[in-house]
């Protein structure tokens, strides 16, 4: 990039003229040679990707048109051509009119011919710069960039597409802008509460978190070599690897997951959408399936088919995991967490630590056998579920798809310093049955678990019994004796469920927040923090009052699909009210560091 700066002296002059005004742009330009204060264009290949994206939007009329055309209807061809023309026109207009530049402290994006749109995003408000790169993108050496702020449900700006060097410049300018603005929460927080390196045993002494606010001033000359050496900018903290998923872990996770089932479901959906008769020619199968001689052979065949199907499902799951999360790396850079993964479609997403609202650790039965877990987070803002791209999906829904159980505590400590959650291997879960109110899942030591109200199990049991009795009554009306039997057979299951449900739910209050665990087969543990609690509530239904119970729930700004929010029912009423009051006090005294 350095030869560029010599090739454009006039750009240097322009920047020098209003150096006071455009500090950030000037700093960016000194490092990279491209003056972002001048309007920049998208890459030429944008035309292709824009058309693809537009066609996806007009897919229904396009398909109708093409099908019509295929059947020889003139109107069909007309529609197809019309749709294509519209998307082409929109693409051309967008490509030739879209400009982005950095003006002062804002990122300004203008587009449109008839309806001009000028969008100006203050750099210090930018939270995320997400990248998505699919194989086609990689062919051109470009990527799609999404710029997000804390507020919206949709990305503030989508730049489809930019080249690698364009992205680097833009990202550098944005990070510099963030570092240069003294009011930014990132810088404020880094100064106010530096993470003590000593308290993290894994923290290498060289990687301290520094966020010098003065570094971006244009007077400071940085030697060219140093820039060339340090790819990442010197003012931004050095990235540090937090977790890397190995191929083995991905394979195990894929095996443990039910993704294959989902994929198969989708495939079957597509398959059966069309005319059933056309696709499956029953006659043709007669040759494939051998004529069966006896019931034993048939049973064997069915069993074999079942095993094959299960194998296929698992293989599909493994395939999906590898496709999606290959080479997953979670790195920590200053106050941001960065994720990059993907086999064909490469994804790179940034999640500021500030935005984490809720941390949830999910462990399904198979994952617990394999000593693995999934860590999910919920963030504030950027929750546009309809307009989500691959990067957003990974960072919002899948944060850390698979992690070794022994590493959970360390990762959580990075996500939220100060939690000191010691996650022991779940082998310990199985043995101690002796402790009365802290049963098997004592996996998280250091937490003072409280179970549900003592009568909760009986209450759930009664509910289960009532349900199965109603079921058998309905069964009686439907199929008489057999129906009754079916309902009664459900009874032991209901009893087991009530027991497991009541015993698996636990609540704990700690120095930093609240933990809630639930689930019998899939165990979910959610962590909420005092400074993230927005409102607190306790409620009592008439039944709750009869059983002297109450439910406690905590509302956070977690904008994602609240998979496992803190909402604990069947607590002992006195305990719940006491916790409510304590939480009220603690939530008021812990103030959020962002607004």
């Amino acid at each position: 990039m350095s030869p560029d700066s010599e090739a454009r002296p006039e750009a240097d002059d322009v920047a020098a003229c209003d150096a006071e005004k455009n500090q950030i742009a000037a700093a960016a330009e000194q490092l990279h040679g491209v003056d972002l204060s001048l309007p920049q264009r998208l890459h030429v290949s944008s035309l292709i990707f824009e058309i693809i994206s537009n066609i996806r939007r007009y897919i229904v009329p396009a398909v109708v048109g093409i099908v019509g055309a295929a059947r020889g209807a003139n109107w069909g061809a007309g529609i197809a051509i019309f749709v294509f023309a519209i998307s082409l026109l929109a693409t051309l207009v967008r490509y030739f009119t879209l400009r982005y530049r950095i003006s002062g402290t804002d990122l300004v994006i203008s587009e449109g011919l008839l309806f001009r749109r000028l969008r100006s995003v203050p750099i210090r408000r930018i939270q995320n710069v997400d990248l998505t790169q699919n194989p086609l993108h990689r062919l051109f050496g470009v990527a799609e960039v999404r710029i997000e702020t804390a507020s919206g449900t949709e990305p503030e700006a989508t730049l489809r597409v930019l080249t690698g060097s364009q992205i680097e410049e833009l990202r550098a300018a944005i990070f510099r802008g963030v570092a240069a603005s003294p009011g930014h929460p990132l810088t404020e927080d880094a100064n106010a509460a530096p993470i003590p390196a000593a308290s993290h045993p894994w923290n290498a002494p060289t990687t301290t978190h520094t966020f010098p606010t003065h570094a971006a001033s244009p007077e400071k000359q940085i030697p060219e070599q140093q820039i060339a050496e340090a790819q990442e900018k010197p003012h931004v903290a050095i990235p540090r690897l937090v977790y890397k998923i190995s191929l083995k872990e991905l394979v195990l996770a894929g095996m443990a997951s039910n993704r294959g089932m989902v994929l198969l479901g989708i495939a079957l959906g597509f398959f059966f959408q069309g005319d059933f008769e056309d696709r499956i020619d029953i006659e043709a199968w007669e040759g494939v399936v051998p004529a069966t001689q006896g019931p034993g052979q048939l049973a064997l065949l069915i069993a074999l088919a079942f095993v094959a199907l299960m194998l296929l499902l698992r293989l599909l799951g493994i395939g999906w995991y590898i496709l999606r999360f290959f080479g997953y790396q979670l790195t920590e850079q200053g106050d941001d967490l960065r994720i990059s993964c993907g086999l064909f479609t490469k994804v790179s997403a940034t999640v500021p630590r500030k935005r984490i609202q809720l941390i949830s650790i999910h462990r399904s039965l198979i994952m617990r056998w394999l000593h693995l877990a999934t860590i999910r987070i919920e963030t504030a803002g950027g929750a546009g579920s309809e307009n989500e791209n691959a990067a957003a999906t990974v960072s919002r829904r899948w944060f850390l798809p698979v992690v070794q159980e022994a590493e959970i505590g360390r990762v959580i400590e990075v996500l939220r310093p100060g939690t000191a959650l010691a996650f022991e291997s779940s082998q310990h879960d199985a043995q101690p049955r002796s402790l009365p109110n802290s049963p098997q899942a004592a996996a998280t030591s250091g937490l003072q678990w409280h179970g549900l109200a003592p009568l909760a199990e009986r209450r759930l049991l009664r509910l289960g019994v009532l349900f199965s009795l109603l079921l058998s009554l309905a069964g009686w009306f439907a199929w008489h004796a057999w129906g009754l039997l079916a309902g009664l057979l459900f009874l032991p299951l209901a009893i087991l469920l009530a027991r497991k449900k009541a015993r698996s739910r636990k609540f704990a209050r700690t120095a930093w927040g609240v933990a809630y665990q639930s689930g019998w087969l899939t165990r979910k543990l959610s962590l909420s923090f005092y400074d993230r609690m927005q409102t607190l509530s306790v409620s009592q239904s008439p039944f709750d009052r009869r059983w002297n119970m109450a439910s406690l729930s905590i509302d956070t700004a977690a904008a994602g699909p609240a998979d496992h929010a803190i909402d604990v029912s069947y607590l002992d009423a006195d305990f719940a009210f006491h916790q409510f009051e304590e939480l009220q006090r603690l939530a008021a005294s812990h103030r959020p560091k962002w607004t």
Binding site: T535, S537, S539, T556, A588
Partner: protein, 197 residues
């Protein structure tokens, strides 16, 4: 409740009387910092009036929905059946009216709120009881609104917005308008003083 002209209306509003509340909701009693307040007593008459209106609307809809039955009864020469329907109307109407009259005071007795240094707390619900608390530091902004009927009773609705999701707007209807404004001012000034320090 005519003391709306003084500066401290909050302290003038009727504090929770010990007897009825304490016996009915003993669970909600162990807070000492600042007393719980009832809504404005005028809220009862306001609530009654709106309840009457909705009872009337429900009644009219009911009559309209079941009038084809009468037409059918008359057409099939069975007038006694239509009398039965009319009696049914009267009973339902009476029940609706009684509910609209009796429910507001019960609801009033079960709705209290409290504002202290920690934040705003609201307790409500007769059968399903809820207690919700908004810490001062989480208040994003506060709205006070007043509808035309509310204006006749000098009442207001306080809405506290937070950055939350499920409870992102906590609403309290039936405060004296002046009180609602004072609560709003106090919440905002408390939040500002927090932000400064």
């Amino acid at each position: 409740m005519n003391g709306s002209d003084e500066e401290s209306v909050i302290s003038n509003t009727q504090p929770v009387a010990g007897e009825s509340q304490a016996t009915e909701t003993s669970q909600f009693e162990n807070i000492t910092d600042c007393d719980y307040q009832y809504l404005s007593p005028r809220y009862v008459s306001f609530d009654r009036r709106t309840s009457y209106v909705s009872a009337c609307v429900i009644g009219v809809l009911l009559v309209a929905a079941s009038s084809p039955v009468i037409v059918y009864c008359l057409a099939t020469q069975r007038p006694w059946l239509s009398i039965l329907v009319v009696v049914g109307w009267l009973i339902v109407g009476l029940l609706l009216g009684a509910a609209a009259h009796a429910w507001p005071p019960i609801k009033y007795r079960h709705t209290t709120w409290r504002l202290n240094s920690l934040g705003m707390e609201i307790r409500r619900g007769v059968y399903w009881r809820h207690r919700i608390s908004v810490p001062v530091a989480r208040v994003q902004h506060v709205d006070v609104s007043q509808g035309p009927i509310q204006r006749m009773f000098d009442l207001g609705t306080l809405t506290i917005h937070t950055a939350g999701t499920k409870n992102s707007a906590v609403e309290l209807e039936g405060l004296h308008h002046e009180v609602a404004l004072q609560v709003r001012d106090r919440l905002i000034s408390q939040k500002e003083s927090l932000d400064v320090t």
